[in-house]
């Protein structure tokens, strides 16, 4: 079994499991993730609470499952918006060239100067914390990433013979982009979607760690880590569970992206 097979399968399985846990949490969790039980607070992992309980006796496994919905939800929406806008800008730049291309690249430069945390601080001043702030901050940073990749890929396609043929057939730039360029660069975009969703999960966790993500009582992995700091010495399981959840989810998405890349680009697959 070659390396990309392993990446693809392992990454796919992890991603499906995390997404499954997020979906299941909407209808069932082992316990109510908001139900307090002060008598059972700060319990280490045991038979009744597999991942232990937190400072007010909530079941950590249930919060982790519900948190998966929050993290994945914000990450997927932010990546989808950033990916769509970025790709649109990228293929437009490639199709039009000249002034449009320079404008897009400059816009990219400006957006790239605002890492998610920075835009979240700026947006936090404007809108206050919350899901919209987090999604906008993360999505904005995705735009230049997708614009750069899709532009580079699209430019390669524009040099091909079949595009020249389509042009001679009288098709407009927009139509050629939609009918020929976009389908051809889609594999690269899909690979990036997987990898960037992973990065978005990390950003979302960072934002909620700082208190700039979703507000309580909506569970979030980042805020769990932030709250765990107080009990670092007495209840280390509170630090381990959310951190592992983040790391495993991101690892899965990265492996999936790598596997897909090697699958769609045979040249790389052979070399790896």
């Amino acid at each position: 079994m070659s390396r990309w097979h392993i990446s693809l399968i392992l990454g796919g399985v992890i991603t499906v499991l995390v997404a499954g846990a997020a979906l299941v949490s909407r209808i069932w969790t082992p316990a109510d993730p908001t139900a307090m039980d002060i008598m059972a607070r700060l319990q280490a992992p045991n038979a009744a609470h597999w991942f232990g309980t937190d400072q007010i006796g909530r079941d950590v496994l249930s919060i982790i499952m519900a948190g998966a919905w929050t993290s994945l939800g914000i990450a997927v929406v932010a990546t989808a918006i950033g990916g769509a806008l970025g790709t649109l800008l990228g293929v437009t730049a490639a199709a039009r060239g000249g002034r449009t291309e320079r404008l897009v690249m400059s816009l990219n430069g400006v957006l790239f100067a605002f890492p998610p945390i920075l835009s979240a601080i700026l947006l936090g001043a404007l809108l206050g914390p919350g899901a919209v702030t987090a999604i906008t901050a993360i999505g904005c940073f995705m735009v230049p990433v997708f614009a750069r990749i899709s532009r580079a890929a699209a430019i390669q396609n524009w040099a091909r013979d079949y595009i020249a043929a389509a042009r001679m057939a009288g098709k407009s730039d927009a139509r050629i982009t939609a009918e020929h360029v976009l389908p051809n660069i889609m594999p690269q975009i899909i690979v990036q979607l997987a990898i960037q969703t992973g990065l978005a999960i990390l950003s979302e966790a960072g934002l909620s760690f700082l208190g700039m993500g979703v507000s309580p009582p909506t569970p979030s992995w980042g805020r769990m880590l932030s709250e765990s700091q107080t009990f670092l010495g007495s209840a280390p399981h509170l630090v381990l569970a959310p951190g592992l959840a983040i790391a495993i989810t991101v690892l899965g998405l990265n492996l999936l992206g790598d596997g897909l890349r090697d699958l769609t680009d045979p040249r790389r697959g052979q070399r790896a």
């Binding site: 400006v110 920075l118 601080i121 950003s203 880590l225 670092l232 010495g233 280390p236 951190g243």
Partner: protein, 315 residues
């Protein structure tokens, strides 16, 4: 040559201008009256008006923007609304923590990742390569603030080798300061090192298959000599580029890691200023970070062009 450079410089300046305008307008639109924040909600209307005019807040929008830009150029960033001290001094003081922290992390990341990446590429598919790729995958996936928490748990709470957080200042020959920066620097360095390991490995593999390397080998150079004399120096190009591209992540990471270790750096300053609605501090810190990213990117491009003769004179 010169027109290309000038055009680049002009584009970079324009980008800086647009960036500063975006930041200024966002902060302008943000709710909260600075005068009210400084004097409290119970202040008299005429006192508030007097302070507003003293702060120059009664001037038109564009005049204030120009005044801010002028201040940025001359180093006068205004007064902090909550601390009542000049913002420039506040930033400079906090820089004494953030700058050493990010430098230590970057050096650490390079020192770990370059040898690891070269080792992985020298014997692809062997144990060393496997180890490097596991490190790279794990390092990219773990959040740096979580690494920070784990380091505190292991090396500060259990082993007691390092403090759990805080910063004693640069007195006392800086030993206390360095000690309190070690764990945060490691936390910040691991994700960076993971990315750089990957890039180094790919770059070395890429260069190793070039004709000039084959020529060097055909001339009788040993594998090892060809690797270190011809392959590695050329492979460092993409590594330098990646270092530049990683700056936004380094900055985000610093904000988080400073928070975990309770370090009085720029990241903590921005974060605290936001929660205290000290918007003039937020405005200037965000601009500072954005300028660093833009300048480093422009610098990386220029350096890249210098290091790779094939790119000279290209836009």
């Amino acid at each position: 040559m010169i027109p290309t450079r000038l055009r680049r410089l002009a584009a970079a300046l324009l980008m800086l201008l647009v960036t500063s305008l975006v930041i200024f307008l966002a902060i302008e639109a943000a709710p909260g009256d600075p005068a009210e924040i400084m004097l409290g909600t119970s202040a008299q209307a005429d006192t508030l008006a007097a302070l507003r005019s003293q702060l120059g807040l009664d001037r038109p929008l564009m005049v204030r923007y120009a005044a801010w830009l002028g201040g940025v150029v001359t180093g006068d960033l205004g007064q902090s609304y909550t601390y009542g001290v000049p913002v420039a001094g506040l930033i400079a003081e906090r820089m004494l923590v953030t700058l050493p922290l990010t430098l230590m992390a970057t050096v650490l990341a390079v020192v770990v990742s370059v040898p690891l990446g070269v080792m992985a590429a020298a014997r692809p598919g062997r144990a060393g390569d496997g180890l490097a790729s596991v490190f790279a995958q794990m390092g990219i996936a773990v959040p740096n603030f979580w690494i920070g928490l784990l380091l505190i748990l292991g090396f500060a709470l259990k082993l007691r080798w390092f403090p759990t957080g805080g910063f004693p200042g640069w007195g006392d020959a800086g030993i206390g300061a360095i000690r309190s920066l070690v764990l945060p620097a490691i936390a910040l360095a691991i994700p960076q090192a993971a990315v750089l390991t990957r890039v180094t490995r790919a770059a070395v593999l890429d260069i190793a298959s070039e004709d000039f390397v084959r020529t060097a080998r055909a001339k009788g150079l040993s594998r090892r000599r060809a690797l270190w004399r011809h392959v590695v120096p050329n492979a460092l190009l993409p590594v330098v580029t990646m270092l530049g591209l990683q700056i936004p992540f380094l900055i985000s990471g610093a904000v988080l890691v400073e928070n975990v270790f309770n370090l009085p750096g720029i990241g903590t300053l921005a974060y605290q200023a936001l929660s205290q609605r000290d918007l003039i501090v937020v405005q200037n810190v965000v601009l500072l970070f954005a300028v660093i990213v833009l300048v480093v990117n422009a610098g990386t491009d220029a350096l890249y062009a210098r290091l790779d003769p094939r790119l000279r004179g290209r836009a």
